[in-house]
Symmetry: C2
Subunit: 249 residues, 2 copies
């Protein structure tokens, strides 16, 4: 049996996230349907992450343990031929049989895109968070730095998560601007449920004067969800990079 | 009576171009409907250009002679509230009553976006021409330079155009690459029907070895449509800039 590592990118607008669920279209479901159509068998597909409804992926990995004998390159072409246009297979390669797309991930990077403009863009509906009032990207960048390092992020996690260990290490956390677009970029060894969206909402709360920059360290250490900002909407969020260690990197 | 100059941007995927036509949704129709809903009168709207079905606009101007007393800023907000998300009003201002969005235009710039990648992007369907084979942007840029200056472009015009004067002056014509995206940018005092798409198709024909770079000047001077390349598909084309002279600039 082979273990295939498949790289995807997807526009999440039409999907209720990655994970299969009843009565709602998901990326995993759609991918598994395409896989079954090509390989004639419903192999189990393991994603590197769940993503929320409406969240996008510039890079997403899944691994599939399969008996298919199709060459990787042909599998890419065949899957893209049957997948809808908003899900694209970028590559496929064989990995050791014990490789697991989620457990073997050493870090992930998300970006959160904010269109900072009084009027919207006709091309970016559902692809950015449109924020009408001028943001100070330098202030936001200073705030983003407060999240660097190892912290118990339980205050930046939505209810409904069953994770026990809420300590994560943030390697990179920065805000930059390119024209009208303000981008928050964060890399960590892992993320709690809604963590990036809550941090983004907290940065915006500082921009709005609702939270003071000086209070951020104490808010992080308080572990109180109520002290952080609101959860930013899903459409600005992209899983941007997934890093594996060892030979898979 | 006021004459209002309205700046739009639109995603052309859902529209059969700008110009009102029977039995097909167009940007002009949609804009006029929104205008009527806000101003309670069906004022005549004059666009700066026709665009083809599926073609986009990063910048588009129209002028409206109207009796409405609504302030420009309020008109922008109100129109955006009723327009669909793929058409955005960027600005509105009062101009002299004789100003005409099409006749007073001194030059226009189009860009043609080509996604040059073996696999597509889930975010760019209908927004670029996906070309799977590696393009040499330096070669294309050299070819683009052949179109600079004043020429009779009748060989780069689709049948069905009734324009008599087919001489146009090209001020800028260049090809650049940013990552996987190859962009052809052309500015001229005017464009014939399908001119940018036929020039783009001709550039690609050179990349494919079907037309020789050295032959381009003779092909332009031949005025023979059959010697130029095929018409590139509409989805990569954007009206990118519209320039007016005098006080409107």
């Amino acid at each position: 049996m082979r273990n295939l590592l498949v790289e995807l990118a997807y526009d999440g607008r039409a999907y209720h996230g990655w994970q299969v669920q009843e009565n709602a279209p998901t990326v995993q479901q759609t991918f598994q349907d395409a896989w079954q159509q090509i390989c004639r068998v419903r192999d189990n597909v393991v994603g590197c992450s769940r993503t929320d409804a409406g969240v996008h992926a510039n890079m997403f990995f899944c691994n599939v343990r399969t008996d298919t004998s199709l060459e990787c390159e042909k599998l890419v072409t065949a899957l893209n031929a049957v997948l809808p246009d908003d899900i694209v297979v970028k590559s496929c390669r064989e990995v050791p049989c014990e490789f697991h797309a989620r457990y073997d991930c050493v870090s992930k990077e998300y970006i959160y895109r904010i269109l900072d403009s009084s009027v919207s863009s006709p091309f970016l509906n559902g692809l950015v968070w449109h924020y009408k009032y001028r943001l100070d990207e330098n202030l936001l960048n200073e705030c983003a730095k407060c999240f660097l390092g190892t912290h118990d992020f339980s205050g930046f996690c939505s209810a409904g998560s069953s994770v026990e260990d809420t300590v994560r290490t943030v390697y990179r956390s920065e805000v930059t601007r390119q024209g009208d677009e303000v981008v928050f970029r964060i890399e960590a060894d892992g993320f709690l449920y809604n963590m990036v969206r809550i941090i983004t909402g907290t940065l915006i709360a500082v921009a709005q004067g609702k939270i003071k920059k000086e209070d951020l360290p104490a808010i992080i250490e308080s572990h109180e969800r109520a002290l952080a900002g609101p959860t930013a909407p899903p459409q600005g969020l992209y899983l941007n990079r997934v890093n594996y260690g060892g030979e898979i990197r």
